[in-house]
Symmetry: C2
Subunit: 314 residues, 2 copies
């Protein structure tokens, strides 16, 4: 199991690659919800998402062990996190992306120095290819969430929130790596309740916690593509059973509203997955909880939304 000390070590390791992002107060969302609402702005993180934290921690440990090359599969933020970390550390990274990955994400990954290999019709096929190359050539495979060093890296966000006395922290949930790290970091030092937010129909974490075993859901296209993960990771499942106070799967319509309001009222570009916490704040599920006058931190996990989607929402 990952310890608090693992996260402290990660925090030292990733300095100079990832930055400490700001925490700001949101007047608008405080008024709207009757609470004191803060944002942790990982959309302002390098590469536009938190993923660089976990990737940097993993890659730095591999580098210390003499490794010079890594491989991963991703059509999104993890690709950019791995590519940017590898470049910063003078390592080589190959990213297998499915053939339907957007031009924007391919270009961004390449711009950070990643070698992009287009393969397969979907993420599953790209993943298989990456694992195959990894085995055949003895190149380390970087899993986006089911990896202790990656989770410890994401947990560094929790360290940056620990001194702020939050009653609640809302965290987007896809594979579960982010919330696992953040929960370990915060539960050690604070009394904050850790709440996970998924986008329907991707309620794998909520269902798995309820059923006591990992449940896989049927995929569908949603705006929160960064957390559209049909099946959570094994390591995250074990951590979340112990540390997480609640997980809610929210309708996509609240995500769209959240992205728009973040743009218009908070002047922030936030992608679907990154808007999960605000979507929850606007949802009927949150209303039912009758949470008032609390200090709430919403983790805005990323800002990599493409131009066309943004245009549609405006």
């Amino acid at each position: 199991m990952i310890s608090f000390e693992d996260i402290e070590k990660a925090w030292k390791r990733i300095k100079g690659i990832a930055i400490q992002t700001p925490v700001i107060h949101s007047h608008y969302f405080s008024e709207v919800s009757g609470n004191d609402v803060y944002f942790k702005l990982e959309n302002l993180q390098r590469t536009g998402s938190f993923k660089v934290r976990g990737a940097a921690n993993k890659l730095k440990v591999l580098k210390q062990k003499g490794k010079k090359e890594v491989i991963t599969a991703s059509a999104g933020n993890h690709a950019q996190g791995v590519a940017f970390s590898a470049k910063s550390l003078g390592m080589k990274a190959t990213i297998v992306m499915p053939k339907n990955a957007t031009r924007e994400k391919i270009l961004a990954t390449k711009s950070y120095g990643g070698k992009v290999l287009l393969y397969g019709k979907n993420f599953g096929e790209a993943l298989e290819k990456a694992l195959e190359i990894s085995k055949q050539n003895d190149i380390a495979f970087i899993h986006p969430y089911d990896d202790e060093l990656v989770i410890a890296g994401q947990g560094t966000i929790g360290l940056e929130l620990a001194d702020k006395s939050f009653d609640y922290v809302f965290v987007p949930v896809g594979g579960g790596g982010l919330i696992s790290g953040v929960a370990i970091a915060l539960k050690e030092q604070t009394d904050a309740k850790i709440i996970g937010v998924e986008c329907k129909p991707f309620s794998s974490m909520a269902l798995s916690l309820k059923n006591g075993r990992i449940i896989k859901v049927k995929p569908k296209k949603v705006i929160a593509d960064g957390i559209a993960v049909p099946e959570i990771g094994k390591i995250p499942f074990e951590i979340c059973k112990e540390y997480v106070d609640g997980v809610y799967a929210i309708d996509e319509k609240y995500f769209k509203k959240a992205i728009f309001l973040l743009l218009q009222r908070s002047k922030l570009v936030v992608e679907g997955a990154g808007a999960a916490g605000v979507a929850f704040l606007l949802s009927k599920e949150f209303k039912k909880l009758k949470i008032k006058n609390r200090r709430i931190c919403i983790l805005i996990s990323g800002g990599n939304i493409n131009k066309e989607e943004l245009k549609k929402l405006l």
Copy 2:
């Protein structure tokens, strides 16, 4: 003349109304320019722009003198700054706006509790009306930039930058209130060079400094509406003569490019005027200066761009 101590006093006064905004490092714009580039994020300020700082300082002093009501004329950020400050202080604010003010800005001003009076075809006519009401009813008029307390309030941004050892600070220039306050605050404590940025054809500050007297320019519709001021203020002119190291008027095309890149690469919603410093960084005027390896702070002054303009730029 405004002193450094006036700005320190302002900083204490506006606490609880304005917030201390973050300073973040921009990896992208550092790489692009060959410098170490930071952003001071006043687009994340309450009301979406720095204007609330000056308004809060002025109104708090008036309140201490027993005033309960103020009036101003504005079609933009100053309107929201005055309305929000008045509400926070339990005062009454009337904002005279020209009849062609956008629905968005009118609604925003009303949402902060301001009483909106629509009058006249343009800002000049609205201003005349506001001054007339101010005189007839003995209600304090709040000038957007030609006022020592307003300038001292804007200067509080400089205090929040003083410990960061910047070589350069780039500041948008409209009427000149913002750069005046920031320059006084920074020149007292640091060696930073203060550079003003205007949007062509609104080069009143650059021309006035060159000619040793205030020069008025002919207006035109530009995307940087917040700094589209045909004639700088008298107090700012006197301050800038002494404290400002250079003022550049930049073509509108660089502003458009800056807004787009801030959105796409930096995940920030920035209005035309707010993007002035980035526009300068991208301009041929900046290239000519051959500035490299310096610590540059770009003041992002506001984020109140309307939906339609944003859509057009995407």
